[in-house]
């Protein structure tokens, strides 16, 4: 196990190096010279050269990359071209925090709703309910987030006038009762993004739960438990459920990836100041350092999530531990 973890960890820096170099080169290959953008009205050769040096943009692409990398390792991702006077790190981390809060809650909902639905479908196997549940979840997955948001906004924000049209005001509002007791209630801004984030995610979790539950139901120990005379509820709760949950560890990474992808549309369409909307704006305004930073951070999260999922899976299920590379 230890050797396996070490080998996987050893790959991490190499993968990240390749990814960051790849992104760096593409970003530099793009049209428009960021130095000219930064210089604005100034046409003085000397000043432009000075900007070039300050931004670390002189020399060939390898020299530039080396300079960027040394800074990035120290957590310095350069200055944002979009937001003058701020470093990318200063802008990026609060935005990641906003997205992370929304993403974590969405992830909890996806698993909290998806697992029971999967178990339900597995129990109803052979009846109309099973294909109905799976089919409806697949349908929800098929609706693009782009299509779902405008009707949701129209219904809840305009027609019913219950929720705000967009924006962000923190996860919770505090309700003070008599100025003493504080009750946190969900902020009205989070409902529509959460619906949009979670609808496409249920299908994956529910279907995996269903498949493993169906397999587990066939196992000898379930028959043994039943033949001992255990009530059906005890069999479901203590034997089928825990054993069906194992493979779900591996889809956490996928589910999170889905939420991160969804963040681009949800945040852009709903005006949430998260990392998805920021990445979109950075691409539109060619803020290279910001694009680089977000891509590298996203990739790090993806690679780490996959690694953690694999390792946790190896701990839970020793059968796959034996150094078999899971590619």
């Amino acid at each position: 196990m230890g050797a396996y973890a070490v080998r996987r960890l050893a790959w991490l820096p190499i993968v990240l190096l390749v990814i960051s170099f790849f992104t760096f080169t593409i970003a530099r290959f793009g049209p428009g010279d960021p130095v000219t953008v930064a210089a604005g009205q100034i046409r003085d050769e000397q000043i432009i050269e000075q900007i070039r040096v300050d931004r670390g943009l002189e020399g060939n692409v390898f020299e530039q990359y080396q300079r960027w990398l040394l800074n990035a390792i120290r957590g310095d991702f350069g200055e944002s071209f979009q937001h003058r006077g701020f470093t990318v790190s200063e802008i990026i981390f609060p935005k990641i925090w906003v997205s992370a809060q929304l993403g974590m809650i969405a992830l909890l909902i996806v698993f909290g709703v998806g697992i029971p639905l999967g178990l339900l479908a597995a129990r109803a196997n052979g009846t109309w309910l099973d294909p109905f549940v799976v089919g409806s979840l697949l349908f929800l997955q098929a609706i693009p987030v782009l299509v779902v948001i405008p009707p949701l906004l129209w219904l809840f924000a305009i027609k019913l006038d219950l929720l705000p049209v967009g924006g962000w005001d923190g996860l919770f509002d505090i309700w003070w009762i008599g100025g003493v007791v504080a009750i946190p209630i969900p902020d009205p801004h989070i409902y529509i993004p959460l619906i949009a984030f979670t609808l496409p995610g249920f299908a994956g979790v529910a279907r995996l739960t269903r498949i493993t539950a169906l397999e587990v139901q066939q196992e000898d120990y379930i028959r043994t438990a039943r033949s001992k005379g255990l009530p059906e509820s005890a069999v479901a709760l203590h034997h089928i459920l825990p054993n069906s949950l194992l493979p779900l560890v591996t889809v956490v990474a996928f589910a999170l990836a889905g939420i991160v992808e969804g963040a681009f549309f949800v945040e852009t369409l709903l005006g949430i100041p998260g990392i998805g909307r920021f990445t979109f704006q950075s691409v539109v305004s060619r803020d290279y350092d910001a694009i680089l930073a977000t891509t590298v951070i996203f990739s790090t999260i993806f690679v780490l999530m996959n690694l953690v999922a694999d390792l946790v899976y190896g701990i839970i299920d020793p059968r796959i531990r034996v150094g078999v590379s899971r590619t």
């Binding site: 793009g30 693009p144 299509v147 405008p150 305009i158 990445t279 891509t295 990739s299 590619t327």
Partner: protein, 320 residues
Amino acid sequence: MTRDIDSAGDERSSVVGRSEWALVWERLRRKRLAMLSLIVIMIIYGAGLFAPILAPYSYTEQNLDRAVEGSSSDHWLGTDRLGRDLLSRAMYSARTTLIVTAAVVVSGSLIIGNALGLLSGYRGGWIDSVIMRMGDIFASLPGLPMLILINSAFSPRVTEAIRGFEEYTGITGIVSSGFPSYLIVFTALSLFFWVGTARVVRAQVLQLREREFIMAAEALGSSQWRIIFSHVLPNVSFLIVLSISSALGAIAGSEIVLSWFGVGVQPPAASFGAMLFEGSGARTFQSHPNLLLVPGVIVTLLLFSFALLGDALNDAISSR
């Protein structure tokens, strides 16, 4: 792959030799939902394929006197902000989806994914390591921002290069046909969609390599290419079909998303992504719901059908 059990053509026997593909098709045909999805996909793709014949109007034909109308007898699904017929736009968008999915499946999955998977599994060693680690890297790149970045960085340069080619050779109309944006979208997508096929093929090849019939072929002195093409490839063909069927929806979805962001297929060429963009916004939806619903319903139906068909195909093949 044909197993002619009674090649003598004994008509009394109920066991008739059929290829494995025929058996899979038989099983698939019995699933009503799968057949329905196949019909939906064929209708949408058919509309795209024959758009120049079927579409009542040109996708660029504007009529500002009749902008943002609801459905009427001349414009069945209404018109957009520039008075273009939505039905015709939708048909040409389906054409874009058809072109992009077909091109990415052929290049990304069938050619690159297949070749790298076979090579990786059959040769093993450092070739395998290099290819699979490359796959890991592509799989761990955040797809959407990378696609947006690649498209926005390369699009002007490629257009410029093709314009230069036009001037040099005297051929015209390549840039104005929108070809460069299709080329970039499909290259960028192929870059990401080979990994799935390659992994599946490699895993299967690794298992096959240990099987007796491959060893026998090797022992008999068959060349490597002969083994790959006549022994290995037929045995991975089902998996290739499966990986393609599961990728189709993702490919179609990616093109739509890229065009929505404005870095995909460029206007005036039609794309569901661009159509959805025009219809998004709560106020727009309130006053002109058809701007969003026309592309939205078609895209949802298409993606849903891909998912259902892929599932049914998976069942039909795995119960082989």
